[in-house]
């Protein structure tokens, strides 16, 4: 236990910094670190990361709100249809191999990075 808490704190701080800096939940960092440091399986890391992200993203959104950067109406307009997407994605995840999940994630990251660069 004594060795778990510092490592969780490192994951929390790195994940929180990524979230605040890049507007993501931090799962990009949290999922691989849970697998690497705690031996989580892909799906356990996924679920546990989502719980952490609820807290992290709420804190980060509130902080960005104090800077005046949050567009509340747009956030709600993309957040509501996203809920239907979550139901579809979570159900699909139980039916495909874990390595496929990692591969899908990699492809999507490359695609959105290319959009930002060009």
């Amino acid at each position: 236990m004594s060795s778990r808490l510092p490592r969780l704190a490192v994951i929390a701080t790195v994940g929180g910094a990524f979230s605040g800096l890049f507007g993501v939940g931090g799962g990009t960092v949290i999922v691989p670190l849970l697998i690497l440091w705690f031996g989580y399986r892909e799906r356990e890391a996924t679920g546990t990361s989502l719980l952490a992200i609820v807290v992290i993203a709420a804190l980060a959104a509130a902080t960005q709100g104090t800077y005046g950067n949050v567009h509340v109406r747009e956030g709600i307009l993309i957040g509501i249809p996203a809920l239907a997407g979550v139901v579809a994605g979570t159900a699909l995840q139980q039916r495909i191999p874990e390595r496929s999940v990692a591969a899908i994630f990699a492809v999507l990251l490359v695609a959105s990075a290319a959009v930002l660069i060009f």
Binding site: G15, G23, G25, V70, L108
Partner: protein, 140 residues
């Protein structure tokens, strides 16, 4: 806000939510570029607005995953509770740098993790025990 923007936002939302449910992220990797392209927000505004949508996505995703038995509640809550120092530092930095710097840094992070995840997807299946910790240094 015209009809094209609204349709674009609905589509972004659905796709980002599906990504969140599939791979355990909040959907920010799609929310952010989507808000930049379809809604015309700046990179900083898109990132900030993305965080608000992520709260809903992650809450529903975590609840769904818990029903499949994929949630370790204690670890997840501890990571959230221990995060404020990182959140404040990251937020302050995002507001301090230029838009282009933020865009390129965002893209670089995505590419780095795409690479590491692709390696994991392609490696031979010789491990994957549920309880044995992975060697922390071996994968760099």
């Amino acid at each position: 806000m015209d009809a094209t923007e609204i349709v674009g936002m609905l589509a972004i939302g659905f796709c980002a939510g599906m990504l969140g449910g599939l791979v355990g992220v909040g959907g920010g990797v799609l929310f952010v570029p989507g808000l930049v392209i379809f809604v015309g927000l700046s990179q900083l505004e898109a990132e900030s607005t993305s965080l608000l949508a992520i709260v809903f996505v992650a809450a529903l995703g975590a609840w769904r995953q818990s029903r499949y038995g994929n949630l370790r509640v204690r670890d997840g809550l501890l990571i959230g509770v221990l995060s404020p120092l990182g959140v404040l530092a990251g937020t302050a930095l995002a507001n301090a740098v230029t838009e282009r710097t933020l865009e390129l840094a965002f893209a670089a992070v995505q590419l780095f993790f795409a690479w590491s995840l692709a390696r994991r997807a392609l490696r031979p299946r010789d491990e994957g025990s549920d309880t044995t910790p992975a060697p922390s240094a071996a994968n760099g």
